[in-house]
């Protein structure tokens, strides 16, 4: 399965800031944000870079960075 959409930005978490609330996971439409024991992970195979996780994170622990 290949990405059909261009992602200009991708999410990056700052696990220091993260308060483990899990909202990014709850609200990611693609199911590509996951709160694990190892902190928040993103599945960059399928993440569409929409930025909802960033928008919903209560502590601004996620930021969107330019894709290469």
């Amino acid at each position: 399965m290949s990405i059909q959409f261009v992602r200009a930005f991708r999410p990056e978490v700052d696990n220091e800031r993260c308060i483990r609330c899990g909202l990014c996971q709850t609200f990611c439409p693609e199911g590509t944000a996951l709160l694990t024991e190892r902190g928040v992970l993103f599945d960059l195979r399928f993440c569409k870079g929409c930025g909802i996780c960033t928008n919903e994170c209560p502590v601004e622990a996620i930021r969107m960075v330019r894709e290469e």
Binding site: G31, G51, N55
Partner: protein, 292 residues
Amino acid sequence: METDRIFDEYYEKSLIQGGNLCCPGCGGPLFWRMALEALGPKTIVFGDGPCAMCAIRFLRVPTFGFHFSFVADGATGISAALEMKGRDDITVVSSGGDGAVGDISFNKVSAAAERNENLIQICVDNEAYMNTGIQKSGLTPFGAWTTTTPLGKESPKKNLPFIIAQHGVPYVATVSISHPADLKGKLRRAKEIRGFKYIHFVSPCPTGWRFHPSKTVEVARLSVETWIWPLYEIVDGTLRLTSKPKPKPVEEYLKLQGRFRNLSPDVIKLIQSNIDGKRERLLENDGERIVF
């Protein structure tokens, strides 16, 4: 890779699979993940076509569908086949867009409701014909720009949940992705009831509503908090509001979206007063039987 494996397991559990064809930030896939987490794997989803399809084809439960003009009908057939085979452990879901459920196939939905077919009918309502390029539907809200209503839609949004409620079906509910617990609870309830259940989901659409994809959940939340899209359920004809937030001004909701850009302050005032009236009626009837 480790991460890939972790995610694959998660998808399995959530009953979705990565790589759907919806636009970034589309409300559809988010709804489906939440819904299937509530309904579980013994679910067959009937539906296809439109934007909904983009998500449906990526569900990890059996799906089957025809096109735009086929809503509820196939689900009725599947439900009948399951009954014949004695399979009452499987939930049949019928899904369609606002154009499909509310316009072209509304006779079918209405008739299935009247016959009280044993299925959950879902409307994934992005308030226009999106997949064909943002044309107006009956469920497009008053004032909204679409390619076929360049000056804003003239007639108000068809109030589908209340219209269907008047069919006397056992369960009707509105849901929002901004309120996941409420959403999942309603789907679980629907699953337990025999007969026709109707779930109306207003699906924020960054592409057609013209907002930045990162705002999807925010827009959904505002739709609830402004009482533009109040959350309620109608159980056996009795209304129950499941969220009664302090009302925010509708303008907060409208101004986030490009489709409402051209509304004059007067029109916004009109919308506000309509919403105020609606809210009052809803609050007055909270806990009351509203089906005649």
